[in-house]
Symmetry: C2
Subunit: 300 residues, 2 copies
């Protein structure tokens, strides 16, 4: 059923991870039978054009951070001009964008992190819901997938639901189906794929990391100057989080100096300081693989 809705052979969707899910990765997931979503991130028109071009010939979609899209709504028109299979919206009110997406022929996917957010998203009449557990890498909520997913299932009548957060192998896929999902949305596992835009030393850290070593934090948003209004992101712990997590007020006070240092660290790919978003599923990731092989291992 989710296959019919999204036009895919395998019920697996690539999470639209900003700076990670480019056109090459999205196209690889789509060619393997799933649906690749380009990560719209904080909205850079040139980047979006380039990555759709990278994916040319494959049916892909795109995902946006809803509150960021609301600041540059013209990016939705740009995205729709590329005829995406689906548009996914997370973190903000999807209702102002729903009608335009539907009229374009694209499917609307809304990601939710709690029952309260699910109730709001349902008012946008999405084609698909994503129930995202706090296990997930990147920004997310506080509810864990294991209890959130069946509760969203009970709330959303017969709406197809994708499970997100903590899924990196076939066991997670089967558990998601048992809890009422129609398929899965997978991020971190693909961040360590050949096709991901992830820097190679960051892929190496994801492969080596234990799930005990992630933290939900705001410190990278403070130093990158993104206003997530208290929503935290799950990242690999490193020297930067060990220094600043729990001391956010001091980081804000010291921001100018720290921003300069942080940018230099990003340039030289120094991941003792720079951010690697990753979910708790890093435990289950022990090698960098082609995206098609990852799809094959998760969905049978």
């Amino acid at each position: 059923m989710i296959g019919d809705v999204l036009g895919i052979a395998k019920p697996l969707v690539l999470a639209p991870m900003g700076f990670v899910s480019g056109g090459a990765l999205a196209a690889a997931v789509s060619r393997a039978g799933g649906l690749g979503l380009i990560g719209g991130g904080y909205g850079d028109a040139d980047w979006i054009r380039r990555e759709f071009k990278q994916a040319e010939g494959a049916h892909v979609g795109i995902g946006f951070i809803t509150w960021s899209l609301a600041q540059q709504p013209e990016l939705l028109d740009l995205a729709l001009s590329h005829k995406p299979r689906a548009v996914m919206l997370s973190f903000g009110d999807p209702r102002p964008f729903a009608e335009k997406i539907r009229r374009s022929g694209a499917k609307l996917i809304c990601q939710v992190q709690s029952l309260a957010i699910a109730r709001q998203a349902l008012e946008a009449q999405p084609d698909v819901l994503v129930a995202q557990g706090t296990e997930a890498g990147g920004h997310g909520g506080e509810r864990s997938l294991f209890a959130l997913l069946p509760a969203v299932r009970d709330l959303a009548a017969d709406k197809p639901i994708l499970a997100a957060g903590g899924i990196a192998d076939r066991r997670g896929f089967e558990a998601a189906l048992a809890l009422g999902a129609a398929g899965v949305l997978v991020g971190t596992r693909f961040s360590a794929s050949n096709e991901a835009l992830t820097a190679p030393p960051a892929k190496k850290r994801i492969v080596e990391a234990s799930g005990d070593a992630t933290v939900r934090t705001t410190v990278f948003d403070v130093v990158r100057n993104f206003d997530w209004r208290g929503i935290t992101g799950r990242a690999l712990r490193n020297r930067f989080t060990d220094t600043w997590h729990g001391r956010e007020h001091e980081l804000v006070a010291d921001r100018d100096a720290e921003v300069a240092k942080y940018r230099k660290a990003v340039e030289r790919q120094d991941f003792d300081t720079a951010l690697i978003f990753a979910g708790e599923a890093v435990d289950l990731i022990d090698s960098v693989l082609p995206a098609a092989e990852i799809v094959r291992r998760i969905v049978h």
Copy 2:
């Protein structure tokens, strides 16, 4: 296999919830084919004797908070004198108690909340591990079950593992098996059973609550004067958590006055102030049921 190890027909174990899992509830779960564990809590010899007596005729076990047991190790002898089927230890180093438990003929069950804790627990050579996700009610860790469980499975070779946290119906049971568990440990769902020692107005709140409405917090331990050293407990949010969560230092400063108020609230069963431990699975609980019916609904 877990059935052979614990001598039970159904792979379901009652979580040893302090002040909730008394002898009547433990016996009801055991008679329904699972294994009931009496909640040893903070250790009250008279209470433990009385609840074993309540359970007479049924094969039950007992669970202890390991750091609390270390302060009153004689309680283990008392418990073993009642020939428990199993002893479960959580939150602390199980190794000093393992040999005595094994020699008594009881099975040793160790609960873990992370891979690091799992590695320590395995050194005690337990018969069964419990992987407890942060979804769980009461004290727990930060890792979510969805990714923790398969990671513990990969770590622990062929040791039987029970999944704990967020499980209240058959979907959770099946998902736990898919993720590599041999069975489940269930708490909150039984807190709203006929046989639980939970106060009736607290059972009503569990039935009515949404999983969005729980919080991991230390405020109840501050006001009850239990030294959990930073380990948080998941409880239903109420006026007390809304007032003090995030303001723990002020609560400590004001402790004497607040302790007196808190104790009065407990006496009059005022759950706007008093604690109700509950996990995120409260979403899936919509009535108070006999324990045997809960067992039947979870395990097929």
